[in-house]
Point group: C2
Chain length 298, copies 2
Amino acid sequence: MDPNWDDLRVFLALARGGTLTKAAKVLDVSHPTVARRVHALEKQIGARLFDRLPDRFVPTSVGEELLADTEAMEKAAHSIHRRSAGLSDTVSGTVRLSAEEATAALIARFSAGLRSKLPQIEFEVATSHTPANLSKREADLLIREQVPELGGIVARKLGRAAYAIYAACDFQVRRATPAALAALPWVGFDDDHLRMPGQRWMQDYRGGRRPEIRGNNWLVLHEATRSGGGLAVLPCHLGDPDTALKRVGGVIPEVFADQWLLVHRDLRALPRVRAVMDAVVELFQRERALLEGRIVRT
Amino acid sequence: MDPNWDDLRVFLALARGGTLTKAAKVLDVSHPTVARRVHALEKQIGARLFDRLPDRFVPTSVGEELLADTEAMEKAAHSIHRRSAGLSDTVSGTVRLSAEEATAALIARFSAGLRSKLPQIEFEVATSHTPANLSKREADLLIREQVPELGGIVARKLGRAAYAIYAACDFQVRRATPAALAALPWVGFDDDHLRMPGQRWMQDYRGGRRPEIRGNNWLVLHEATRSGGGLAVLPCHLGDPDTALKRVGGVIPEVFADQWLLVHRDLRALPRVRAVMDAVVELFQRERALLEGRIVRT
DNA sequence: GGGTCCATGTACAGAATTGTACAACGGCTT
DNA sequence: AAGCCGTTGTACAATTCTGTACATGGACCC
């Protein structure tokens, strides 16, 4: 069985320092720990590695033989240290952010602005609306509408997204009464995604009838609506900026979705992850009116 | 701070195996442990080292960079492994045995015989009669007259050494009454070593008088006695084989010393240490009569 | 010779790590 | 579609490791 590599690091420190106390200081552990680790290594290797002189430890001939190899390990470990030093201390590198399509589109729309502030960061914006946790390492940051009950996840509230009914600009809406609207064709999610915001509201509005055009993500719904496929409940930050769409009525008070920024506690400490978090928080604060459907287009 | 070197070993196993389960098997740990150790390394290095595909882990570009250095560490570790394989599995190498002078002389006398049975072992027989424990790594094996109350020490009884009064062959002992013997000059230990076997007995025998020739180890006493310096209480295994000495009276029933073979529990498992232990035990069993003063010289 | 400082060894309490057990998921086979 | 297998994630109990505190020993200084 290979010895514990880290015990070799302790061995090296004792060989260099000559005393348990000096090695302990270098390694930032206690002196009994150094003694134990060296004994454990000696037991595993099957030879004494040190002779005990009155004032110091000196390597035995076996210990001397191992020193060269251990120093080779140290050299490689230092190379790794130098490489990783360029990873955790600076605000550069890649940050992967995952959000459902509509929010991903929002982020993507402003990403050029974000990167102008953080030029050394590369964004990866992934669209995903399935519930996921960061432990599966799908992303460094998630924007989600629920906070998962998971250990190690830190959540930060970004804001509340409002929803409204939209149609293509040239879509004929003759009478805006609920009954008249309910009778028109609609665009919405399929049965597997009824939990998406606004879907149950819409079915109630229409007396339980399914939307005539169905899809499984917001962009599909968005495109079908723009093409005159029917009415759709869309988030305002998706519908309002699109001049090909028009609002039909106001913001639906009963339909909203809180937006949460999720990060694994371990990654939050990384400068580049924190920088992106701060930038995303700032973006949502700046665009709060858009998010809440309070941008009135003429 | 340097990452834990052993976490790099885990990283390497996951990079090679592709799954937590395979890496766990190779490392002989559980799969949650592999996951934790890799996460700990990622946190310390400040970068993700693996992407998660549906069926396996693949190194990220950062992970690929670290692989070369980690493989260099593995190469050095394998070298250490090969070296140490020649240490713990075979019955060769050096075994250091420590005993007080008289017993060390006994061992030395028979060491040629011992080595004829264990030709690939090199003996180091150190004389020392100060109480010591094996943790100070003064020896691999100790022969002592008391068992120290220390953790980790395994004791094995070798036998009981008997003592008698000896004089040089030409030393004139006109009358063998206690009074006449007590009046003669004696050889013995100095005041710092009164706890050595036979010393207090001798002082009681002589009404509290100190020996006229004093030393601090058995060999000095032995030599002084052989030179006609006086009477001495010596272990029988030292006195009887020496044709320059003669017994004066029989074995002294009140004076004896149990002999214990002491070893650190960890070292007992080493084949060469165990072989020497067995050989020493056998030696003491074979020479039990000598030890107990039952060899009658004509 | 006594006092001080440094170092090591050891016992025990606390912290950290690991293994076990179980749930969940995805792929494959029937 | 159902069942099975392999894999991963997680919670909790068990185990291991570490640090602290203290005792002991040796060297040095006064």
